[in-house]
Each structure stands twice: as structure tokens, then as C-alpha cells.
Assembly symmetry: C2
Homo-oligomer: 125 residues x 2
């Protein structure tokens, strides 16, 4: 592999954690397949980390700061470190959920503010 | 909405950028639906940002530092800032691709190193 690159293929595990698997230094990313009614049995918050969640398939519920929000495929949401949160799949539906943890306030530029064009082409260009 | 929380539902747009939509401060996250053969018409690298990509559906190809790697649903990969990269969907398949940009080296603790339990329960606990 190029030293600038690492790759894995996820199997059928109910949870995959990518930080160690890919050598990430800016995020932890997990891919979670929750069975109907499944989720962590506690409410949690964070010290430094912002979380972004994406619902890839199925339906579920988010508990956030005392209220409950329904979730469905196509929903993406941000939770600040202090947000008191829990998620679960709906009692009648599995849910596939991506969770991204990053340090709040850590991003500087992005996309065209951080990226630059290279003087080479891919074979299909 | 809670001030600790923001949420959107993605429609049918071929590309959604979440940084501004959700008020992210630690990442840019984009969700991209590439048509067969589709992708950015250039190779790029980054100054500060590590990228993590996840293939949610379909197949495609990654160009990285002079070689080509096939991609399929379930693949996740990290590219360091200096990696010279381009992605496209396969000529005979669309590809749904999540791209996460974070500042390389920015993550401190994560999961149980940054999270803490709250003294409250969700309605389903």
C-alpha cells in the first residue's frame, strides 16, 4: 500500500471502529448495525468531541437533552460535546448508523480552502 | 431544537455538504451519489486535512499516488493529506460515497477516552 493510504472492507460485524483499523488521526468513525430495539444502554456526553451521525438504513430514535427525535434513513445530525445523547433502532426496524467523532473546533480550512490540484491525471481523465 | 443539536434529512441531491448545513466545527462531511463513470475531473491533495471515505453502495475506482484500486460497497479508506487522489464510479455502476475531512493529528481522546456517562436515562432504558 501507498504510505498515504489505508483501506479495509467491512464484513458483517455489528460494529466496526475505523480509528485503529485505518490509522486515523483526525476522527474516530464507527459503522453500527443495530438490531430492532438495540442501542447503548446509557446516555452519554463528551468532553471535547463533536459527533456527527448518519442514518444509512432503517429507522430509530435519538434521545437528546431530555427529548426524543425519530430517525430514518437519510437523516444526519450533529451533537455538541455537552449534548446528553442515546440512540437506538426502532423496536420494529434495524438501523445502520455511522458515527463520526472529531475534536470540536479543530477544523481549519476544508474542500477548496485546504485542497489543491495536482499536476497529474487519473487514467480515466 | 436543543442548542446542542442540529439535524437535516438528505433528499435526492447528488451531493450534500454537511459542514454548513449542520454547523460542524470538527469536520466537513459530504454524501455523494456518483452516476456511472462520474467523479471529479481532477486529482487533488490536501494541505492539512486527512480524508476518510466510505463506499455505501455501488462500485468504483480510487486513483492514489499513481495506481488504481477497485472500490465496492463496504470499503472504507484513509488518505493522508499528501496523497494524490481521485475517485470515480465504475463505468457500469453508480456509487454512493461518504467523504469525511478532518485536520490530521487533531483527535485527542475518543469513545471512552472522551465520553462520559450521564446520570439520566432515555425513555427506553
Amino acid at each position: 500500500m501507498s504510505e498515504n493510504y489505508s483501506k479495509i472492507h467491512l464484513g458483517d460485524a455489528p460494529r466496526a471502529e475505523l480509528h485503529d483499523a485505518l490509522g486515523l488521526t483526525g476522527a474516530e468513525v464507527s459503522v453500527n448495525v443495530l438490531p430492532p430495539g438495540g442501542g447503548a444502554p446509557f446516555v452519554h456526553a463528551h468532553k471535547l468531541n463533536e459527533e456527527v451521525y448518519g442514518v444509512i438504513a432503517g429507522r430509530g430514535e435519538l434521545y437528546i437533552d431530555g427529548r426524543v427525535v425519530p430517525l430514518e434513513a437519510g437523516d444526519w445530525f450533529r451533537i455538541d460535546p455537552a449534548g446528553r445523547r442515546a440512540v437506538r433502532a426502532a423496536v420494529d426496524s434495524a438501523m445502520t448508523l455511522i458515527c463520526i467523532q472529531t475534536k470540536a473546533g479543530s477544523l481549519e480550512g476544508f474542500t477548496f480552502g485546504d485542497g489543491y490540484l495536482c499536476d497529474e491525471k487519473a487514467p480515466w481523465h
